[in-house]
Symmetry: C2
Subunit: 243 residues, 2 copies
Amino acid sequence: MDIELDRGSPVPLYFQVARQIEQAIERGELVPGSRLENEIELADRLGLSRPTMRRAIQELVSKGLLVRRRGIGTQVVHGQVKRRVELTSLHDDLTRGNQHPTTRVLEHETRPASDDIAVHLGVQPGAPVVRLVRIRYAQDEPLAILRNWLPASLASFTTAELEERGLYALLRSTGVHIRIASQRIGARTASGEEAHQLGIKRGAAVLTMERTAYGESGSAVEFGAHIYRSDNYSFEITLVERS
Amino acid sequence: MDIELDRGSPVPLYFQVARQIEQAIERGELVPGSRLENEIELADRLGLSRPTMRRAIQELVSKGLLVRRRGIGTQVVHGQVKRRVELTSLHDDLTRGNQHPTTRVLEHETRPASDDIAVHLGVQPGAPVVRLVRIRYAQDEPLAILRNWLPASLASFTTAELEERGLYALLRSTGVHIRIASQRIGARTASGEEAHQLGIKRGAAVLTMERTAYGESGSAVEFGAHIYRSDNYSFEITLVERS
DNA sequence: CAGTGGTCTAGACCACTGA
DNA sequence: CAGTGGTCTAGACCACTGG
């Protein structure tokens, strides 16, 4: 395995190393179960300090690609490399998967926060919030009903923009960056209206997801209560033991 | 905020610090939005090096409790502290929540691996695997149907032990430690038999979860295909932006 | 025993933020 | 500008694993 470093690049060294080891795994150069060189050798060979090399490896351990054991070494995990659910929006995910997402905006209006929404967003009840209801399509098939609430001060976009781009992308372009999200995933049967909007039968099972997203200062940016068709959507998650 | 360190303890210093900051947040001494001292001061005050102090803070950032910004500082995240879904078993979760889990074992037998299961476990088709079917109750209410497959060499427990303890606890006590798990969460409607076993109506929505768990050497330890009642179970997840 | 990763130190320089 | 976190170095000692 050869790794090339660009010390002039703004990309941190540990990240360059992690990325290239990850690619070696993806390309099959590092096969599942095989052992990496020990971190001291690797660090020496690349002209890095040991802490920097450790950090690169740690990146991949916490992604679930590598496993380390004291006294043994570092090994590549068996099993196909599944990508962890990152903190991304549905729109981004679909775009990346060439699913051609489109959006229809059903509601887009400012109203006073109900008690429930105020709690989720950490604002005063009655404070102005923007309520959005959208239907998201993938390859012209309805996939999800998206209901969102945001503090009105953050929702400086037009309905037309919402039809074009994802909510998170719009927030990013106005300087709002989402750092943490806490979600709850459940299931229930679809109501008649929901079934109609999603193009499924009344009583079909749907996935539900409630999410509160927090921005750079740790305050709530968005609360969402979404419904997904269960016949063409599921959530994938990778859990790694916190060492 | 005062933090006490025990340098004689086998518990790492960064962990002692992280735990005590976390407790200060839980107790409300550090309120949401408030800023921590900068890491250099904290390190000096506690007699630690800066990297060690950074690591303690980083623990809490990746748990979603703190947010850091260059040039600004470190702040406590708004919103109630929700515990992240850790890599634990359902049995452990229920025990921790005083839900008094009990288990009924419906099947417990060794058979050759089907092609499908062989792929999930990374073993040869036809290799001996143990198949388990259990119903998990919480406070005497059925909660989930648990179907699991394990390489036969790892399943050295009795049916009676399975009725008493969770699968992960049994594996731990035989020296098998789970490090990584990859799950997929979906929904569908319950079949007649499933509905009967779970005490719900036929056609009710259920949550489905498929999971492959990997052990210390990175090889598959267990594959599970579980069904949860959606009226009393949901999955909670906290996502943190990978910096 | 030799080899591995886990923890910790004491510094250094840089990039970004806000006043 | 001063203050913050982000990255990186060059060591040190320890704990655990296997033969």
